[in-house]
């Protein structure tokens, strides 16, 4: 009886010891398995969202599909939120993050960011017209809904001192806004623009009243150790090509995203070089 237990424990210990041996190059791993796993958003129209049939679609999904096609691999998408995407990446559950992630110095200490960046967004709020917000300073002391893990929460909270009410994901925060639990919803201008442009009657009384602030580059995230590997180089080349060929601008049009000056600028710069 005891000997069987010892064998079992030994087997378990060996299995555990074998785990760290997975430190294999990500590119080789993807080619080996024929699958690339990408963390994407599923609540962020039009970047990554659910279409009526329940499929995840959007501009970032198109980018992920393009990467998978170039690698000749099957694309597997895992929905992530801001608060868990970097942990998923570090743990190896996903190989890449393409999930509207802002490229910040703090994040660069933890994960790698693919350059050139594929988009740039800014911060703004969605608010009912009746709230009559004129400037960022009007938010002071008021309840403002936000989503956990967004990089601008801290900056806005410290600069303008609203009382932030932070939810795990976008639908809860929007629900709370409609329910009157806060005067405004703090988020990327792109999501707010597409929400308002969507023509949903629910949003008829709402506006994006403030000037855009704090422009921020978005980046595809990869594990820190992949940055200088073959996979890191591959991703850099892919991203460069997206800019050069104008694929990003094309996709922007396809998904009805307001033209970003950043993409036009980078495109003309790269075509020249």
């Amino acid at each position: 009886m005891t000997s069987r237990l010892v064998t079992l424990l030994a087997a378990a210990a060996m299995a555990l010891a074998a785990l760290p041996a997975k430190a294999q190059d990500t590119l080789a791993k993807i080619k080996d398995k024929g699958v690339i796993v990408v963390g994407v958003k599923n609540d962020y129209k039009p970047w990554g969202y659910l279409d009526p049939s329940g499929k995840i679609v959007g501009m970032e999904i198109d980018l992920a599909e393009d990467i998978a096609k170039r690698l000749n691999a099957k694309l597997e998408m895992i929905p992530v939120i801001a608060a868990n995407r970097m942990e998923f990446l570090k743990q190896g559950r996903i190989d890449l993050i393409i999930a509207t992630m802002g490229d910040t110095a703090d994040r660069r200490k933890v994960i790698g960011m693919v350059e050139p960046n594929y988009y740039a967004g800014s911060t703004n709020v969605l608010a009912p017209k009746s709230a009559g917000l004129k400037g960022w300073a009007d938010l002071k002391g008021k309840k403002v809904c936000a989503v956990q893990g967004a990089y601008y929460n801290r900056r806005v909270a410290q600069l303008y001192q609203p009382e932030l009410v932070v939810f795990p994901a976008v639908p809860e925060a929007l629900n709370a806004l409609i329910g009157g639990n806060c005067v405004a919803f703090l988020f990327d201008n792109t999501l707010i623009e597409s929400t308002l442009a969507g023509g949903d009657a629910k949003w008829a009384g709402y506006e994006m009243p403030l000037p855009n602030e704090d422009p921020q580059l978005w980046a595809i995230g990869m594990r820190l150790e992949d940055t200088d590997s073959a996979f890191g180089k591959f991703m850099k080349d892919v991203s460069t090509e997206w800019h050069k060929t104008g694929k990003l601008i094309e996709l922007e049009k396809k998904w009805d995203i307001k033209q970003s000056p950043f993409l036009i600028e980078t495109n003309s710069k790269m075509k020249g070089s």
Partner: protein
């Protein structure tokens, strides 16, 4: 005076152990606010759930069948559904149906997220407390109740002066258990953005990326909070002990 923040800054730079709440005043104040919210949310819910338990257990022995059915229905509903479901149901489903108060444009719902958390957790733990007090009441010998009645006590009088004091002492250990659970259940308020401990910790780790450190801080904090509660309850149990009385 700056030695403490300096030490934690050094701990981060030299060893990668990032306890930002010790050197970043913004993170520190967020964490303390979370701690404070958890403590007072727990205290309010504990008091309200005990009140609900005492009242419910008394109404369970009411003459009217309708009242007894209502109490039974309440206990069944709140004991058989998950507290997270109750909380989101109250906040998102019921909250939207209530009238708004305040001037137009700045109207806010009648009950905010903190209010719903208090209501939901008190009702949830209260349902358990009803049953806990019932077990205590049923353990009081019927001869004792009859003796009280023959001395001229009314039903309420006998309940207040004889049955409840005895039943309370019998129920304390299981009440203790339920209240410890209630304190831990307050973390669910995170789902509706009540700024309690888990919420504060999640804010910090999603900005500073010190998940491992904050998880440890969270666990230690709850061990501390629950430890204080258990200590108080044990002191209370001791203070209430009647020498020579063993039910």
């Amino acid at each position: 005076m700056d030695a403490v923040p300096e030490f934690f800054r050094w701990l981060n730079d030299a060893h990668g152990i990032n306890l930002s709440l010790a050197y970043d005043s913004y993170d520190g104040s967020r964490f303390l606010k979370g701690l404070w919210t958890t403590v007072w949310l727990s205290v309010v819910c504990i008091l309200m759930s005990i009140a609900i338990g005492v009242a419910g257990a008394w109404l369970q022995g009411h003459r009217s069948r309708v009242v007894r059915m209502l109490v039974a229905g309440y206990v069944q509903f709140f004991r058989n559904t998950p507290p997270l479901v109750q909380l989101t149901f109250f906040y998102f489903a019921v909250g939207g149906l209530l009238p708004m108060i305040g001037p137009t444009g700045q109207a806010t719902p009648l009950i905010d997220n903190v209010g719903w958390a208090i209501i939901s957790f008190s009702l949830f733990a209260g349902a358990f407390n009803v049953e806990i007090f019932r077990s205590g009441i049923e353990a009081v010998p019927s001869a004792t109740v009859e003796a009280a009645e023959s001395l001229g006590y009314s039903r309420l009088g006998a309940y207040r002066h004889v049955v409840l004091p005895l039943a309370f002492r019998i129920s304390l250990p299981s009440l203790n258990n339920n209240l410890v659970n209630l304190v831990k259940t307050t973390t669910l308020a995170y789902a509706i953005a009540v700024p309690e401990l888990l919420y504060a910790a999640a804010q910090i780790w999603s900005e500073v990326f010190n998940v491992r450190e904050m998880m440890n801080v969270l666990l230690v904090s709850y061990v501390g909070i629950v430890g204080v509660l258990v200590w108080v309850m044990h002191r209370w149990e001791k203070a209430l002990r009647i020498p020579g009385y063993t039910p």
